[in-house]
Chain length 215, copies 2
Amino acid sequence: MRFGVLGTGMVGRAIAGKLVAIGHEARMGSREAGNEKALAWVAEAGEGASEGSFADAAGFGEVVVNATAGAHSLEALEAAGAKNLRGKVLIDIGNAMADTQPTTLTVANTDSLGEQIQRAFPEARVVKTLNTMNAGLMVAPDSLGETTNAFLCGDDAGAKAQVTELLETFGWLSGDIIDLGDITAARGMEMYLMLWLKLMGATGTAQFNIRIVKD
Amino acid sequence: MRFGVLGTGMVGRAIAGKLVAIGHEARMGSREAGNEKALAWVAEAGEGASEGSFADAAGFGEVVVNATAGAHSLEALEAAGAKNLRGKVLIDIGNAMADTQPTTLTVANTDSLGEQIQRAFPEARVVKTLNTMNAGLMVAPDSLGETTNAFLCGDDAGAKAQVTELLETFGWLSGDIIDLGDITAARGMEMYLMLWLKLMGATGTAQFNIRIVKD
């Protein structure tokens, strides 16, 4: 399958790398074609990997992944172009961190990046997922000693089913993938970042995730 | 030891009940002495249990627990009175939910209830804890099949050490109690509620908690 992965940071490289490794084609998108980090990734990832502008990548993908920094995601998706997103599953992994110390979110509580993206691109089928953990874990969930949970939400049941299958090919066990409901659940998934950052500080590592324990 | 527990809801009853059960004296505080729910709790809890106004309870306690609804906690603590909180450990369990559908928080992202309380009562030694789970679990952490985590934060190291010891008497294992830092960590602890609510919906129970799994 063909994927467009927007973003050249740790998340974009992890996701695009995994997609190529399991046999898909992935085009990494950035502000301008020929981005150094994108070119380095293409050279390293080999067959199935390519790069281009945000619009190139989104147009190439049957599924598009937003792996850009959340504070700039709407701008990146505008550059990708509504027509390149129309009807497609759009996987949003963004965390909308403001450039503040201590960290705050650019959107929270009464709205979320996931909702903003769905409103801005009503013909895209937005699924929020994987933003609650470190990039490495997203594509290697078995790298911790125990199983942990991935969450997803969105308004389109078919899109969520497709993303669930994709997560399973990343190594997530179906029973560990929790559907939190419609896209408004992105608020909780994104606001959790504020706890995650403190947990990272307290545990001394970003290589951790949460597991839901219930009766 | 003597505790003042502000609030007659599920959290107040759970905490005050546990305190009495393990040999402490607890006075439940409400807007006015003689509150029906408080009287019912006193009758049920027996020796060591008493009730009164917010000020009665806070004045009685060597340690004070805020178990009121977060949206009204500042008002309740005003009624309790700064002089009754002065120099004392003030355990804040509040979640500041606004009366909206879907749920939003009255404070988030750039501030938190825990910080508001610490600012309003600078001579109290505020420790935020236990607000990330259902009331029953706060005082019976062994009621799930596996161990899970409790968090705490605050500006006063001595107060946090005292609360950690108290949590251990509730059944929390010391290794499962995670100190997230100063009182600004209350932002993350409170914003997690938005994820918690969706997890409750998805798992179909409030009897769950999270466990941090790390390398």
